[in-house]
């Protein structure tokens, strides 16, 4: 399933999550290699966030395993999370902290000190264009800025693996474009997983897309291949066809 001859950075094997009798994620397996941007698509409640939470080591899977750079996210969690940049759903941040204060906290946790810490924070602020609001408390910012603070936190340590849960949600078209450009620039050196229900994002940034419905993978293909799955060639139709069948 992974790109041929490339370094596999994310491995997911038979990941399953049940909540009582409800199966949120059902035996999901895939790999992501360096240089890939994997779009994780699916209707609301399909299991996108649950899968990403398990990949980030936050949620304990009922069955299966996830590895980041070979580190099991459960048994070797700290090592796995060291090389991971994760943007949780809704980009939660500590509202009472200033943007810089929050990023410095994350940088300190990640072991940076002194001038290196200042440089890292400044670089992350630059990448996400947050310089103008850097001294404001996060809770006073607009939704788009908050999302970018979450993104800055994920990019801070220049991790080889990025897992971003709806990174462009709540951003205006210009900001969306900037984030997509940023993802595209980082792509060659990283394995990136983004979840989205905005289909235009697939064509814009993804090298591969997985469609998930009712917890199961229903398609794993390049954007071009996905387009061919519906007679109309439209992603909208492909998406509806795939996810309604499964539901």
């Amino acid at each position: 399933m992974s790109g041929t001859g490339q370094t596999v950075l994310i491995e997911i094997e038979g990941l399953t999550k049940r909540f009582g009798a409800f199966t949120a994620v059902d035996n999901v397996s895939f790999n992501v290699s360096k240089g890939e941007v994997l779009g994780f698509l699916g209707p609301n409640g399909a299991g996108k966030s649950t899968t990403m939470r398990m990949l980030a080591g936050f949620m304990i899977p009922t069955a299966g395993a996830a590895r980041i750079l070979g580190h099991d996210v459960q048994s070797d969690g700290v090592a796995a999370r060291t090389v991971l940049g994760f943007l949780p759903e809704g980009a939660p941040t500590y509202g009472e902290m200033s943007v810089t204060g929050f990023l410095k906290f994350c940088a300190r946790i990640r072991g940076y000190r002194g001038s290196e810490l200042t440089d890292r924070v400044a670089h992350a602020l630059g990448l996400t264009r947050l310089e103008s609001v850097r001294l404001q408390p996060v809770e006073t910012l607009s939704k788009g800025f908050k999302r970018r603070v979450g993104l800055a936190q994920a990019l801070l340590h220049d991790p080889p693996v990025l897992v971003l849960d709806e990174p462009t949600d709540g951003l205006d078209p210009n900001q969306k474009h900037e984030v997509r450009t940023l993802i595209d620039q980082m792509r060659p050196e990283k394995a990136i997983v983004i979840s989205t229900h905005i289909l235009e994002e697939v064509d814009a940034v993804c090298t591969r897309a997985i469609v998930i419905a009712a917890g199961k993978v229903v398609a794993d293909a390049t954007p071009a291949e996905l387009h061919k799955m519906a007679p109309s060639g439209k992603l909208d139709d492909v998406f509806r066809q795939l996810t309604l069948e499964a539901a």
Binding site: R53, A56, G57, F58, R81, T82, T93, I109
Partner: protein
């Protein structure tokens, strides 16, 4: 350890970034002052010591400490920041300990601000400063014990009111276990339980400190007590973080 302290530092500054710190410290000082000077007959006793002050302290802590701890984990889960915190490269134990240390340091600050009472006693007479010092150590330990219970209750639920009520209730059980009302009742009905209750009587052990006695077994008790509840917190956080 470094990560634990970074978390503790962030947490502690969060108390002071909101009115929580001011409200807590003011109410604590007003309550302690009123109880010591008015209800404790501080002046009529004619003794230069802090007995009335230390007698009321566990009961004031009983009410106020769960108010600090109720937001510890419940708030992180409600806002969703727990997902951010626990996907940073730290262990859950470090997060639990860091948050606990912040709350403990906060209690220490509140306690330190009661210094005018000590100055008053020194001005009026010649108190045994050794006893005052062990009393404060005991106060810090009982605050730590209540904090560890409160932290577990906060990890149990995402509702802060429930966390507060459960925290007060459980701390009350341990605090009341020292009192004749409970011990007499138990020894009359279930003598075997009375022994158990007495060994967990947290206020008894605290009162030894206020009399100037530092016993190793009391120190071990407090360390074990806090360790147990923090371990329970870690287990609860792990189980319930993603609910």
């Amino acid at each position: 350890m470094r990560q634990t302290l970074i978390i503790a530092g962030r947490e502690l500054s969060a108390y002071f970034a909101t009115p929580v710190a001011t409200v807590f410290i003011v109410i604590f000082l007003v309550l302690q002052g009123t109880l010591t000077f008015n209800m404790g007959n501080f002046f009529d006793r004619g003794q230069a010591d802090l007995v009335p002050f230390f007698n009321f302290l566990p009961w004031v802590f009983l009410l106020l400490v769960p108010a600090i701890t109720m937001r510890l984990w419940a708030e992180e889960r409600r806002v969703g920041t727990i997902e951010l915190l626990l996907t940073l490269p730290i262990t859950q134990g470090q997060a639990v300990l860091g948050k606990f240390l912040a709350a403990w340091a906060f209690c220490a600050i509140a306690l330190a601000l009661t210094f005018p009472i000590v100055l008053t006693v020194r001005f009026l007479g010649a108190p045994d400063m050794g006893v005052v010092a062990t009393g404060y150590l005991g106060a810090l330990l009982i605050a730590g014990a209540f904090l560890s219970v409160g932290s577990a209750m906060s990890a149990l639920t995402r509702n802060q009111v429930i966390a507060f009520v459960l925290g007060v209730a459980i701390c009350f059980l341990f605090a009341a276990a020292s009192y004749p009302l409970v011990t007499d009742f138990l020894s009359r009905n279930t003598p075997s339980l009375a022994e158990v209750a007495r060994s967990f009587a947290i206020v008894d052990r605290y009162q030894a400190f206020t009399r100037g006695i530092i016993a190793l077994r009391d120190l071990v008790f407090f360390a074990t007590f806090i360790g147990f509840w923090l371990f329970l917190t870690t287990v609860l956080v792990d189980q319930r973080k993603a609910d």
